[in-house]
Symmetry: C2
Subunit: 474 residues, 2 copies
């Protein structure tokens, strides 16, 4: 499936090119051969398949690198934390990887404005830590926070657990600086939410996975960090019941809903049994489990809100289970039931995974249809399903290893999961992007006008195909 | 200043072109001559300067009109409510105005998803009314709600009073359908917040003022409509004090901040004296007045929150005044002090007005500098200043009629107000857009790379310059 990432053209870099790059960044910041092998390749070894890796320290150095690469027709693969799941960072011989790891400064953090200006290589976790000193948070969170960079999260339009409340990365970005494929510097580092001064072209770079420009600095909105949180796990009979709980969470009087994460039965049984988790009166066989977290000023009041939600929902659905975390340790245990997805891949090597956005009113019928049709493809299929219920983002992972999936079976599964998803107002790729892995699916499922328009825009911006060639639009 | 809107080329439309358009929409939906004069031109008579006005009823009709206009090289000026303040809708002989007024259906309104799908010509007010039936609201509000259309608000990336909380129009749009300059239909009507399926090119049409495509349908996020609201007016010594009140409003435990509108002294004195507004112990001479509104479940609790804010702020600034509205009628009276901007224009015909975004930490020094430098240009200048404090959007209107402003004086004023605004992270055009009136200022103040990139994108998308020529980028 990664064949879309294979690049034609020279599979080496000329010594004159490498010499010029060395001039720009200093010899120590251009890695080749053994020195590349010493770097952390992140999610996939193929991320570091390039001939050389350059580590610039400034926007000006990046602009100079791009101009040099353009002159020599060398493709640039920009990489942040190398945590992407769809092969957006894969590189091959003859290419240059540009790592943003040295662009790691928080340039400005204003508590009055609730805005941070950061370089692209700052990790989410370090921005979270710096924001927390002012009782603020970035308004976006995801499990790879320790390595995922803000630049990478902008380039992939990252989502995560708070998107229903604070939006995806696109909605967090106020201003941006980026290097265009001709090596010029696009400078629009506003720190205001209102800006109607012409086309807002920074949105071209958001979610473009490094194909239209290289994001170098970002001004981001921050949000108040609540003084207290409270978390409960509900065992529920249906998606409708889980949406009822979510709506009650959205309507609390004290504090606000921070997360509403759904865990369907088979995934819940996997994580709860592996972590030996159980609770008195909590039946592990509910069709859907919902983890909800509230944030606010006072933990006790938040726990009372959770108790009230339980009472209200139990009136309508008497068969539910619920447990409220009584400590931060218990809260962390409940979150592990949702977040420890590694358990799946340890059991099923390379299990095919999907990342679907479904409008809330369509989740139930979508899942019913898919599960029944998947069962028809292979009666052994009992996929792990979990995700961000409040925004309709479902993660669906097959209980099958990659080795057991011939291409035609994979194609049949995709036809089930992606078929009609646009017609019901959803998206076949919610938050992981397209990279190399999903190029063929984008081509097959996108509105033809939309897909042609993407290619037209890309050709207009990067006529020489210097930036991350073959990714996203193919 | 409107000279940028003058279009070269034929100043009439051929009968063959008009005949083809009549074929598409029916004779009754193509207006010429007298029939145009009977239409409401909105903010400026020049909006209806075109030879003909077409009123299509569907996306397909619009696509056919665009293909026909392209073949005949006739410019199309798309219009919604004709409420724009910067001449984005101005039209001239030889052009075709395309009105979205017949695209006025709310296609879908889902309380479960909290999403509406509307045609472009639906007014904000009718969407507000339809949403309110489900105790929802569009999350965006502005005084021209009765005539402003959703399509127009998308095309201008409208802001208003709720942007600090719910974002600007760009942040409200989930999905879109639009007609491209070649007459093809871009279809991306997703109803989900997470969509990483390739470039999100709908953002090109948002805020493009009808120059890159014609927005035909929009899927919009809705927000819960609070059961109760409470409003107070504070008289304060400084911007710092007003930001303190705003922050206290953001941190209330019951409900949430809905609006924080600042009214500087001279505008306050104008509206309060014209409306004969006064309140016991409310000193009308405070440097800044701040109108704040809370929304939540219980009016009494919200009013208690306002009283607590007063007590907290009065400890720090003992000289403040405050009045809490005791009824909806009093609430409306307070809002009139902020919103009745017509009073200015009745006193100073065509008073030059500016719409600036300033990062919160820069507002005080920005205003001090500007007021002092304006005073140096003309000692009679005592501008009316008011705006959306929580997002830093200042409206500045000169106490001078257009007749008293020779071009070099206007240029000097712009140099003061726009000078250095990008360097401090703001924007010279916050929410009104560029239209024809601000083209020269955009050209003069924009980052050259950014401006060149805008022109490059426009040329790539609309090579024949069919859509709203000369607007925005010139």
């Amino acid at each position: 499936m990664m064949s879309g990432a294979t690049i034609e053209g020279p599979t080496a870099l000329s010594s004159s090119f490498l010499g010029e790059i060395r001039q720009i960044v200093g010899a120590g910041n251009l890695k080749e051969g053994e020195a590349i092998a010493a770097l952390d390749y992140g999610v996939a070894a193929g991320n570091l398949g390039a001939t050389a890796v350059v580590l610039p320290a400034s926007t000006e150095e990046i602009a100079a690198i791009v101009r040099c690469a353009l002159a020599h027709r060398v493709p640039i693969i920009t990489q942040g934390g190398r945590t992407g799941l769809v092969g957006g960072g894969l590189s091959s011989p003859g290419q240059l990887v540009l790592s943003t790891s040295r662009l790691n400064r928080i340039v400005q953090l204003s508590p009055i404005e609730r805005v941070a200006v950061v370089e692209a290589g700052v990790t989410l976790q370090s921005l979270q830590a710096a924001s927390a000193e002012h009782r603020l948070e970035p308004g976006i969170d995801l499990p790879s926070r320790g390595s995922a960079t803000i630049g990478g999260m902008v380039s992939t339009n990252a989502g995560g657990i708070s998107a229903f409340r604070y939006g995806v990365m696109r909605h967090r970005v106020l201003g941006m600086e980026a290097v265009l494929p001709d090596g010029s510097i696009y400078s629009d580092l506003t720190r205001v939410v209102k800006n109607a001064a012409g086309y807002d072209l920074k949105h071209l770079f958001i979610g473009a996975e490094g194909t239209l420009g290289i994001v170098t600095r970002i001004a981001l909105k921050l949000e108040p960090l609540p003084a207290a949180t409270a978390t409960a796990l509900f065992g529920l009979p249906s998606v409708a019941a889980a949406l009822d709980v979510t709506n009650s969470g959205l309507a609390v009087h004290h504090g606000h809903l921070r997360a509403a994460e759904a865990i369907w039965r088979s995934y819940f049984q996997l994580t709860s049994s592996e972590h030996l988790w159980s609770a008195v009166d909590y039946d592990p066989n509910h069709p859907v489990n919902l983890l909800i977290s509230l944030g606010g000023g006072d933990e006790e009041q938040l726990q009372m809100e959770l108790a009230q939600i339980y009472e209200k929902v139990a009136e309508k659905y008497p068969e539910i289970s619920a447990v409220v975390a009584a400590s931060q340790a218990q809260e962390a245990q409940l979150w592990r039931l949702r977040e420890d997805t590694d358990l799946i891949y340890r059991k099923h090597a390379g299990a095919p995974s999907y990342d679907i956005s479904v409008p809330l009113s369509e989740i139930d019928s979508y899942l019913r249809r898919c599960l029944s049709e998947l069962h028809r493809i292979d009666p052994q299929f009992d996929p792990y399903v979990f995700g961000h219920l409040a925004d309709g983002n479902l993660h669906i992972v097959l209980n099958a290893s990659a080795a057991n999936m011939p291409p035609e079976k994979t194609a049949a599964v995709e036809a089930v999961l992606y078929g009609g998803i646009a017609a019901i107002g959803g998206s076949f790729s919610a938050e992981h992007g397209i990279g190399s892995k999903r190029v063929h699916s984008l081509r097959e499922t996108a509105d033809p006008t939309k897909f042609a328009f993407m290619k037209q825009i890309r050709a207009a911006i990067d006529a020489a195909s210097i930036l991350n060639p073959r990714k996203v639009t193919g």
